[in-house]
């Protein structure tokens, strides 16, 4: 049984991490700006990035379903295991729902999305200002939920790495040799 994630899964994971942090920060920053060409440009970039992240999570889900991730280390408690799985699927759900809510919000507000200024995407809902305002709230709220879950995700990874020292983080780190990843797993649990 492989104890590390596949290189593809690792690559996709860190690509998503980078994309999520950047797109989240951009979203937070751009909405405070007064209307200007720069603001419109940043909104477009945010939407393009969001659609790219939507495509990325679809690819990740396909990869995840086709390739079993390494099993949780032996000795993982039933509750901890359950929390790990629930957390991961919640992350996937949010990574799907957030770009979709943004896309829907854009449609409802009457701004069609043209991906990278080239590919026009269909409007998901009809134009409706009230729905647009509601979807904006949904989009923002989901983002803060994601922020909270990601903080939990990172905290758990750091806990495993520095407190439990069970090599869990190594399974998802690039450039860590397989031998080392496995060696650290062989260490007896404290």
């Amino acid at each position: 049984m492989n104890t590390r994630y596949t290189s593809t899964a690792i690559f996709l994971h860190w690509l998503a991490a980078l994309g999520l942090v950047g797109t989240f920060a951009l979203g937070l920053y751009m909405q405070e700006l007064p209307l200007s060409p720069a603001k419109l440009q940043l909104y477009s970039w945010h939407k393009w990035a969001g659609i790219a992240l939507l495509a990325l999570v679809v690819v990740r889900l396909a990869w995840r379903l086709a390739n079993r991730p390494p099993a949780l280390p032996e000795g993982t408690g039933r509750l901890a295991g359950l929390a790990a799985h629930a957390g991961h699927w919640l992350l996937y759900g949010l990574m799907l729902a957030i770009p979709l809510s943004g896309w829907m919000m854009s449609s409802a507000q009457g701004f069609p999305v043209v991906w990278f200024g080239v590919l026009p995407l269909p409007d998901l809902v009809g134009r409706d200002r009230e729905l647009g305002a509601l979807l904006k709230d949904v989009h923002i709220t989901l983002n803060y939920v994601l922020l909270a879950v990601v903080i939990g995700h990172v905290a758990a990874a750091l806990h495993h790495h520095f407190v439990r020292r069970d090599g869990i983080l190594g399974r998802m780190l690039p450039f860590v040799s397989r031998a080392r990843g496995e060696a650290s797993l062989e260490r007896p649990a404290p």
């Binding site: 209307l35 419109l40 440009q41 009457g110 069609p112 999305v113 043209v114 200024g117 080239v118």
Partner: protein
């Protein structure tokens, strides 16, 4: 006798142009502003955006399908009634960089020449004035009669730079394109 000959000629011309039944109706002399609409469209980073103006009125409106050459139209659009789809944009459009609404609250179109193209189609040439700048525009119009009302539909494109619309930071066409497409549906009655 001479008059009736002229009339039948006019009727024949109108029929020949496809404005069937139009000759029977009185000339259209009153714009039904409530039933009429003016929209605009533009491209923002390749995204098609649109909006509308809610208030317009005709200072002059005269159109007889039988005598298109004598038609005369003078339309005023209250630019303050602009709705670009969201509040920030509407507020931005009021500024001097865009429409300078305080100094130039109205856009006008005054026809100078109306030419019948046949099949209920006309070409209206006239002067479009926005923000103190006047340019000649040529507008293709489709005329139809619906339930005793005259309906004029069409669109034309102008370049915002010609009118000084969108200056300063907005001058570049990379974000908001130069072409602005105006669409309209004017409904007129024979008062």
């Amino acid at each position: 006798m001479k008059m009736s000959l002229f009339r039948s000629l006019a009727l024949a011309t109108a029929l020949g142009l496809g404005a069937v039944g139009a000759a029977a109706a009185a000339p259209y002399t009153a714009l039904d502003a409530k039933a009429s609409s003016i929209t605009f469209g533009y491209s923002q980073m390749n995204v098609k955006m649109d909006g509308r103006f809610g208030e317009l009125k005709a200072r002059e409106f005269r159109f007889d399908p039988a005598q298109p050459g004598q038609a005369r139209v003078h339309i005023e659009v209250a630019l303050g009634s602009v709705d670009a789809g969201y509040e920030d944009a509407n507020a931005e459009l009021r500024k001097d960089e865009w429409l300078a609404l305080d100094a130039h609250p109205l856009a006008t179109f005054v026809s100078r020449d109306v030419r019948a193209l046949g099949d209920g189609r006309f070409e209206v040439t006239g002067e479009l004035s926005v923000k103190g700048n006047t340019r000649e525009v040529s507008v293709p119009v489709v005329f139809q009669e619906e339930e005793g009302k005259g309906v004029f539909t069409g669109s034309f494109t102008f370049q915002r730079a010609d009118f000084g619309i969108g200056q300063g930071q907005w001058k570049d066409f990379g974000i908001v394109a130069n072409d602005i497409e105006v669409g309209f549906q004017l409904v007129a009655r024979s008062s």
